[in-house]
């Protein structure tokens, strides 16, 4: 049966402008897709439709997290005193080794999925670990919750502790076993950790898997200067870090998202553009791990596809609303240095988190007809104590709100209730 939702509706069809419909209606069909959005109660062609009135609340697309490490959940908000490479060795790899134990994995992954839900993230590109069984559990918990995810069993076979190294053969077998799982909203994604963790054989096998099964790809790119120098040493024939993925079929040959790109420029930027690679901008992580500030305005000027990522536990905050605020702030520091680079507007940041990031999951992140209905209902009555305009209410929610104001969550048309 069709459903019709009534509320104050916001979305971004284009990056520079909010669509705002006061007391508007969205009709959603039995497949969970938007069939109409507008100011009038839609005709549903003689069908019976249930009308759900959210009154004075705000109805917005749900959040998409383009880069998050589920097995770093326990370390969220911890271990903020090192840069990327020693941070991995000292804090992150020891934690990820624990996921050989599926009992530990279950306990942490259930909490992790709940927390994504809590902050309104309905789709995520997730790194798991090398462990196939734990990764399978993580996929299962997303499926049970009804949320969408691309889940990556991680490929790693060098420069890491023994317990996090896996043979190429075992990696391929693990992936092929995960491919037998058939969930409507949860799929595997090929996930070489990053070039320093993967031998050429591992990278090649990842690229072959992606091509053979037409799987998407995720990894890290140009996050930190020491890392970039290391990659140049490890892959001396590559013309840039991005090229080191490209040569193995891991850079846009299938849909690809690369996290960070803090120091991407010149040839790498051109390659990202040519290959249609999506950039996952992770501003809090880039602060916390002292990586730097990614030049998102330049990327947008070049027409690159960009979304936002929490990057737990380099990042400390799972809220993609908070990532919008940080993305604007980072862009303001670039603007302060160079007024030729206008900082991100709120609607641009919102578009990054919704329609732009959502495109990696399909027709997700907008309320245009044909889009899957991923949505949040926001009760901002505690923040709305004066005569604020609708756009001011949204802005205040993004800057000041948290999980308490999110009162309903939908993924592909279905209300998602975890607790």
């Amino acid at each position: 049966m069709k459903k019709v939702y009534k509320a104050h509706i916001f979305y971004t069809k284009e990056k520079g402008r909010f669509e705002v419909i006061e007391n508007g209606y969205i009709a959603v069909d039995g497949e969970g897709c938007v069939t109409s959005v507008g100011t009038d109660l839609p005709s549903v062609g003689g069908e019976v439709a249930e009308i759900i009135d959210f009154g004075d609340r705000l109805l917005i697309p749900a959040m998409n997290d383009l880069h998050v490490h589920a097995p770093q959940y326990r370390n969220q908000g911890l271990a903020m005193d090192l840069e990327l490479l020693p941070w991995l060795q000292n804090y992150t790899f020891p934690e990820e080794m624990k996921y050989a134990d599926t009992v530990y994995a279950e306990r942490m992954y259930r909490r992790f999925v709940c927390d994504l839900w809590r902050f309104g993230t309905m789709r995520a590109c997730v790194f798991a670990t090398i462990h196939t069984e734990s990764t399978r559990l993580l996929m299962q918990f997303f499926q049970e919750a009804g949320m969408g995810a691309l889940v990556g069993k991680v490929g790693m076979n060098r420069n890491c502790p023994e317990g996090l190294s896996e043979s190429v053969e075992s990696m391929v077998q693990g992936y092929e076993s995960l491919l037998t799982i058939n969930y409507p909203l949860v799929r595997p994604i090929i996930t070489p950790r990053f070039v320093p963790s993967c031998t050429p054989e591992m990278l090649r096998a990842c690229g072959q898997l992606a091509e053979k099964y037409q799987l998407p790809v995720q990894s890290h790119l140009s996050e930190n200067k020491d890392e970039i120098a290391w990659v140049a040493e490890l892959e001396p024939e590559s013309t840039c870090y991005g090229d080191a993925y490209d040569r193995y079929g891991l850079f846009g040959q299938t849909p690809t998202v690369m996290a960070h790109c803090v120091w991407t420029e010149g040839e790498e930027l051109e390659l990202i553009k040519r290959r249609g690679v999506v950039v996952a901008h992770c501003p809090t992580s880039n602060f916390n791990v002292a990586s730097g500030m990614a030049p998102i305005r330049r990327f947008l000027n070049e027409g690159l596809r960009v979304g936002l990522g929490s990057d737990i536990s380099g990042g400390h905050d799972l809220s993609i609303f908070r990532m919008m605020v940080y993305a604007i702030q980072v862009s303001k520091m670039h603007y302060q240095q160079n007024h030729q680079l206008p900082f991100l507007s709120l609607s641009e940041a919102f578009w990054l988190a919704t329609k732009s990031a959502g495109s990696f999951f399909g027709r997700v992140g907008s309320f245009e007809p044909g889009y899957e209905f991923d949505a949040l209902v926001i009760d901002d009555s505690d923040l709305n104590f004066d005569h604020y305009t609708l756009l001011e209410r949204l802005e205040r929610y993004i800057y000041l709100g948290d999980d308490r104001q999110i009162v309903h969550r939908f993924c592909r048309g279905k209300e998602i209730k975890i607790f």
Copy 2:
């Protein structure tokens, strides 16, 4: 009667190190001052003492906000699209004009004080507006709450709308009438808005008031490059922005706090040091208004006194815990540029927000004997779902927690309950 509090106790006697006492005790006398802190139940010299056991909770000094604009409370989380000078003209001055109306002021100021309380801030250096009656109300609400504040009726008589301009004479009279109020924890502070808003006569009168009544001083300093250029034009005889205050007796002649200092260097830095002026670092505001990133490590290396400020509504977040996170992040961007400038440790950021900032209010911000007992009790049981160490629990609270985990608040020994 003496009270003895038992919990896991944290404070920073020195800036680089936490004092951590597992299941420790703090004894507080009838004046609200700490008489002992340690691992053992203190002897209270034959007196009867009430023992309050907070069990597994964390007990930390309360937060101090060294720079916040109460009449910008309605604009919190709004109007993030302009730099300082046009931001003042377009958003801030029109809002502040509303405080001619004491009914409006009462409604907003009551909420503002509640929100400071909510986020665990027990002492604040507050800008009000030019309006004496509204400022009096704000002082009264702090007093009624039992919280500490230095409240500044703002001096302004140029480069602002007529409704925010006041004659020097009226400013002086207003201050003298506020000085007749006798609250134990709430006092006026001399508050020229900033040099561009004050004629030389206004600045001189402010300096004279500060000297005559031995009042502290607060203002803004070197926040934005356009502002600094404007000050150089307006006060051509000054050798730097700070000197433009100093020449009028507003730069450390009495205890002085200056907000921002984003672009302070050279002579101005020397003058701040020589005069013992306290710097209120407002990192979120400096991002939001695209001002820049203040060089706090340099200031600490020079031995300057520094605290943290939310700077609502340039800043969008009232939580001083969030300011600690931002301060560390800003210092990491300086470190990323120059590894000779180590980024702030968590204990340094904590010290900035507690003992360092607290010193502006007296013996506030630590649990050493003789300090006023300003404290928060944190129930982090929702965050503490694994075997975290005590320091990890504190770090996770600072990075991930919010007002929900603050279950008791004390100011000068008295529990403060607003709701």
